[in-house]
């Protein structure tokens, strides 16, 4: 049943439609293949790259294990060892664990949500290329002996010591900042995709649990990564220009870095863990052959974990000498987060108990992963208790704990996901036999490798030691661990072999081979259009509950079965009830995204080596590429206002404001940007708390200039509001004049903002107070600069007839940016001007 009132198309008409769709969604061939932005390609490349980085980091881990197999070993030098474990942690965290879920999400989400594409396919491509380039840069450094060697946590003052860390620390900071940009881009993409691009009828209580998890995780990325970016900025300013943020001799404090790093670092663990559990939430119902029991409980767990995970960061700092009362608050939150985690495990068990379980390789990896993860969770409860952590902190007990959590909670479910979803990639299953062998090798190898570490840790073996004396009681534990590590690696190798071995001779499996209930199983590996037509959803498990759904979708009996204007199109629906509100035209194949990613990569790489001119050139190319991308690909005025999407429904092709995806993307990006800003302000007040006089006797920026800057930014914002109002009233001349006025006011505001610290002669290298004042002022003024670019962009759009009263998306989004900017500016300059006098 379709509810379609229209007459059925003839076979020939249908074939013609399909040919057109295929042409529009075609992946280019030859070298242009790499310019594809289609979610299936990007997802696949992303996943493959992340997996390669994982294997690389795994080899590093094996080198580390060989070195530690016997006491007083000299297989690796101390310095190589330090580079190896630093890179192992860094790569696993930043280049595997987070990106692999972005890959899976980009690959699966559109079809799972019944969409053709995510709303910003070019942004996905930009994210992937940034990630790939940054990853190769960071990993490659070890072959030149220049890899970071101060630990993946990069604590200053060791990591700010140029003599010790060389350019390794810069490679870490800049390479990873670049990758963090990619992660935030993916987060924006996923949040907007999940909120606005679900198939009609897929209300929030109908969403696949994977989407719920990913929504929460993307939100977490938005609030977790920016503090690290803020920290990276402070860190790089210290390394490059000697601004003493972490130098105690000049009022800085190394603990600020630890706070910023772990505000990122702890949510990161859940950012890694939740998507893997999300895979389990898809696999368990399929193999129990029934809907999940406790859908709402899973939502509770995901949202609860998302929040609580931000109250845990100090549990990495239990030994830094903070007051016990502070430690105890974080210990309490760390215990509380175990509750939602436990709920998820019981939801899976309950679902299995209420169904009839078909045991298969994905379930084997899933269940084995849970058994491992539960141990990691229990030791997590232990180390979250402050007294026990005083002993266990920075020992091999923690190494064991974190690997039990991450390998049980993330790697095993990901391998389960590979076995489960492989048919979507190739229309063939992976080998059951190899899967079972791989599982037992990985499961036993893992436990042999990591269980003894609990004991060696409590027997006093600290982390990050490149060797150890023979008579201290760790020899056997370490030898066993090394043997286990190689057994584990053999299991991983079998998985790799299973995935890459040629399979042309193997017969193709029927569609939906596991008899799953969710929409991603309707997609066909050969077709790039995602779904043939966008269905109406009436169930959480539509394939199980909506008879004839697959045939109707494939016959094009639902929305958007055809092509108009040669554009790639998908539906935008409302947040809660998924009612169709717009037909969205998404960007197609483009070289601009690669250009933007590579030139931005050029900026970061050139900065590492202090090649200032290259940096500036690359920055200009990046800016040009991004503007060209926006100019040609967004807010395009369509030829007709409305589009007949089928089933008797007509939808607008152009929307602006909260209806549109662009507005959401701006809002979400600015939420992340605001978090980075809040982290910098945290730094400002942090220095105030640790010093009796945080100015260190240095003159401040005074009151006049900062307050003037705040006032001018406010006026500029008012002029932007005015511009929007004139544009609404269809008065283009007045709009342009207001924009121009806003632009001049912004220039003046920026000047006033910098005049404060400049005219009072604040020297950022002298003491941390002038340095933090400069950073806050610069942050705000640079945002003002971006505001100016946006104003110019709107002016140009208006002058070239690309923006008018009806088509005002550019202006509305820019004004949204300005709402955030004015809050930033008033806070910054208010605090800089007034706080030194108030305290």
């Amino acid at each position: 049943m379709t509810g379609a009132a229209e007459p059925e198309l003839s076979t020939q008409e249908r074939k013609a439609q399909e040919a057109e769709l295929r042409a529009v969604w075609r992946t280019p061939s030859g070298w242009r293949y790499w310019t594809s932005v289609n979610n299936t390609e990007i997802g696949l490349w992303y996943g493959a790259a992340a997996f390669l980085f994982m294997l690389f980091a795994g080899v590093l881990a094996l080198l580390v294990r060989v070195q530690l197999a016997v006491p007083d070993n000299d297989f690796l030098s101390a310095d190589t060892f330090n580079q190896a474990f630093t890179l192992h942690g860094t790569v696993m965290m930043f280049l595997f664990a987070v990106p692999i879920f972005e890959a899976v999400a980009i690959f699966l989400l559109p079809s799972m949500l019944g969409a053709r594409e995510l709303p910003f396919p070019r942004l996905s491509a930009f994210g992937f290329w940034s990630f790939a380039l940054g990853g190769v840069f960071v990993c490659g450094s070890i072959f030149f002996g220049a890899a970071p060697n101060a630990g993946w946590f990069m604590y200053p003052p060791l990591a700010t010591d140029k003599e010790y860390s060389g350019i390794g620390a810069d490679i870490w900071l800049l390479g990873l900042s670049f990758i963090e940009v990619a992660s935030i881009a993916a987060a924006v993409e996923l949040i907007v995709g999940i909120m606005k691009c679900r198939a009609p009828g897929m209300r929030i209580n109908m969403m696949p649990l994977f989407a719920w998890y990913l929504l929460i995780v993307a939100g977490m990325i938005l609030f977790a990564f920016p503090p690290l970016i803020a920290g990276d900025i402070l860190f790089e300013m210290e390394r490059m220009f000697d601004w003493p943020f972490f130098d105690t001799a000049r009022g800085g404090d190394p603990l600020l870095w630890q706070h910023l790093f772990w505000i990122f670092g702890h949510p990161e663990v859940y950012i890694i863990f939740l998507p893997a559990i999300a895979l389990m939430a898809m696999i368990v119902p399929t193999f129990s052959q029934r809907p999940i029991v406790g859908y709402s409980w899973i939502v509770l767990a995901a949202v609860g974990t998302g929040f609580l995970s931000f109250g845990l960061w100090v549990h990495h700092m239990f030994t830094t000498g903070l007051p016990q009362i502070s430690l105890a608050f974080f210990s309490a939150a760390s215990e509380a987060v175990a509750i939602p985690t436990g709920v998820q495990i019981f939801v899976f068990i309950a679902t299995m108990l209420a169904g009839r379980v078909i045991f298969s390789v994905p379930m084997l990896f899933g269940a084995g992963g849970l058994a491992i993860f539960i141990i990691g969770g229990l030791t997590g409860v232990m180390v979250a208790l402050v007294p026990f952590d005083w002993q266990a902190h920075d020992t091999y007990f923690i190494v064991a704990h974190l690997h039990y959590v991450l390998i049980g909670g993330m790697l095993f479910p990901v391998v389960a996901g590979i076995y489960y979803y492989y048919p979507l990639l190739d229309a063939r299953k992976l080998s059951d036999r190899l899967g079972k062998i791989a599982f037992w090798l990985m499961f036993s190898g893992f436990n042999i490798a990591f269980f003894p570490m609990h004991l060696s840790g409590l027997r006093g073996m600290p982390r990050r030691v490149f060797t150890y004396p023979a008579d201290i009681g760790w020899d056997w534990f370490n030898l066993v661990s090394t043997i286990g590590a190689f057994i584990f690696a053999a299991g991983v190798a079998i998985v790799v072999i299973d995935v890459v071995r040629p399979k042309h001779r193997q017969p193709k499996v029927e569609e939906n081979p596991w008899n799953a209930g969710t929409l991603e199983w309707i997609s066909e590996p050969e077709e790039k259009w995602g779904v043939r037509s966008i269905p109406i959803i009436r169930s959480r498990y539509p394939i199980w509950d909506q008879p004839g759904l697959i045939e109707d979708i494939k016959a094009g009996r639902f929305y958007l079965p055809d092509v108009k204007d040669g554009a790639r199109e998908t539906l935008v629906t409302s947040v809660l009830d998924a009612e169709p509100i717009q037909c969205l035209r998404v960007g197609g194949t483009s070289i601009l995204t690669i250009l933007a990613a590579f030139s931005l990569g050029g900026v970061f790489i050139a900065l590492t080596f202090h090649w200032w001119i290259v940096t500036i050139v690359c920055a200009l190319v990046t800016l040009a590429a991004i503007i060209a991308w926006l100019w040609t690909g967004t807010a395009v005025i369509p030829r007709q206002e409305m589009r007949d999407v089928g089933l008797g429904k007509s939808l607008p092709l152009y929307t602006s404001g909260p209806q549109s995806v662009g507005w959401w993307a701006m809002f979400i990006t600015m939420a992340g940007d605001g978090t980075a800003y809040a982290s910098l302000m945290f730094g400002y007040f942090f220095y105030w708390t640790i010093h009796d006089d945080f100015t260190g006797g240095h003159a401040g920026p005074g009151m006049l200039w900062p307050l003037l800057a705040a006032g001018l930014f406010t006026l500029a914002w008012l002029a932007m509001l005015l511009a929007r109002r004139f544009n609404d009233g269809d008065r283009p001349a007045a709009t342009r004049l207001s924009l121009l006025a806003a632009l001049l006011l912004t220039l003046a505001a920026g000047g006033a903002g910098l005049a404060g610290p400049y005219l009072t002669g604040m020297d950022p290298t002298a003491h941390v107070y002038p340095a933090i004042v400069w950073v806050v002022a610069l942050w705000t003024v640079v945002h003002g600069g971006v505001g100016i670019v946006m104003q110019l962009y709107c002016l140009a759009r208006s002058l070239t007839g690309r923006m008018d009263a009806r088509h005002d998306m550019d202006l509305v989004n820019v004004v949204l940016y300005w709402h955030f900017l004015v809050i930033t500016a008033v806070t910054s300059f208010g605090v800089l001007g007034l706080f030194p006098g108030l305290r």
């Binding site: 101390a78 003052p157 010790y164 029991v293």
Partner: protein, 345 residues
């Protein structure tokens, strides 16, 4: 009490005796967790904090093992095909009781236990009776500077890489760092505390059993983080008092060959030997060096050969060490100096 059989070596000058610390009967499962687990083990407590944490650990291990067995047992049971699957309602109840009610109760109790324990094992000395003046320990790449305060008419003095404490008295430490972050950790006595440049952290420990223990640096601090440890000698109070008294005098000049070379080659420019030289303090103090367990801050056993090896090329023994190599000196000179240093008892 009989001498404990554990520990690979026992220093001269301490009475091998173990004070009564309560040892609970352990289930068989836990045997590998305790007993002779080495001189750097948190599982063989010799201090009040370590013992309290060890008990907490045993409670958690026992509870954790039971929970793991129960949950994994349930998981395996759920994976078996059964004739009659549970109803959705019953399964929902399992989530509510097993996934919520039980964990909330257990975690609440555990958290209360641990939060109560914190001020109990690390009391705030500023609020209690006039506390002992702290022993100042400074972490430097890659060794430990230790300054004892003046006490009972005996002057303050500096030493390095070996800490001596009396059994049964709460010792207070002021912990600092010279260059990068280090972490002060004596596993047998208690938990760790970071040493952070620009800050002074306070830690107090109460040793309950005499013995020799090893204490590693627990925060990654650079190339030779691995080779940065110190020895802790917990002594009977009377032995400690005798040792403390002896420190004031130092090692007066004996006129030996090694001593002359030590001064002649400029060693005294960095290393102080009380009684012999003006106290230089760039590098580790070497007074009574012969009493120490190790050379190079826990790197090698304290023998004349090892001392010679260290003098010849410290960087080879300990990558990144700040002391320059003296391999241009004749072997005889180096050997004489090594003999002299090892003889400083």
């Amino acid at each position: 009490m009989p001498a404990r059989p554990c520990g690979p070596y026992r220093p001269s000058g301490t009475t091998a005796r173990s004070t009564a610390i309560h040892r609970r009967a352990l289930p068989l499962l836990l045997i590998p967790l305790s007993g002779c687990s080495g001189i750097q083990s948190a599982l063989d407590p010799a201090g009040d904090e370590a013992a309290a944490i060890y008990t907490l650990f045993l409670v958690m291990v026992a509870g954790g093992a039971l929970i793991w067995l129960a949950v994994v047992g349930l998981l395996l049971h759920a994976a078996r095909r059964r004739e009659a699957p549970w109803s959705e309602k019953t399964a929902g109840r399992l989530i509510a009781w097993g996934g919520v009610a039980f964990p909330v109760a257990v975690l609440l109790a555990l958290l209360a236990y641990a939060v109560w324990l914190m001020p109990a094992i690390r009391p705030w000395l500023a609020h209690s009776a006039p506390a002992a003046r702290p022993i100042e320990v400074t972490g430097e790449q890659f060794w430990w500077r230790i300054r004892y305060p003046a006490a009972e008419g005996m002057p303050a003095f500096e030493t390095a890489n070996e800490l001596r404490l009396p059994v049964g008295a709460r010792a207070v430490f002021a912990l600092k760092a010279q260059d990068v972050i280090h972490s002060f950790w004596i596993p047998a006595l208690g938990g760790k505390m970071d040493m952070i440049p620009g800050r002074t952290n306070t830690l107090s420990l109460l040793p309950t059993r005499a013995g020799v223990f090893r204490a590693p640096c627990a925060e990654f601090c650079g190339a030779s983080h691995t080779l940065m440890a110190f020895s802790v000698v917990v002594m009977e109070p009377e032995d400690y008092a005798a040792w403390r008294r002896a420190q004031a005098g130092g090692n007066p000049a004996t006129g030996s060959e090694g001593e002359r070379l030590f001064a002649g080659h400029g060693c005294a420019g960095c290393h102080g030997i009380r009684g012999l030289t003006e106290t230089a303090s760039l590098g580790p103090d070497l007074t009574f060096f012969g009493q120490r367990q190790t050379v190079g801050a826990g790197t090698l056993a304290n023998t004349a050969e090892n001392v010679a090896r260290f003098i010849r090329n410290p960087d080879k023994v300990k990558p990144g060490a700040k002391m320059p190599a003296f391999d241009m000196l004749p072997d005889g000179d180096i050997a004489a100096m090594a003999d002299y240093l090892v003889g400083l008892k």
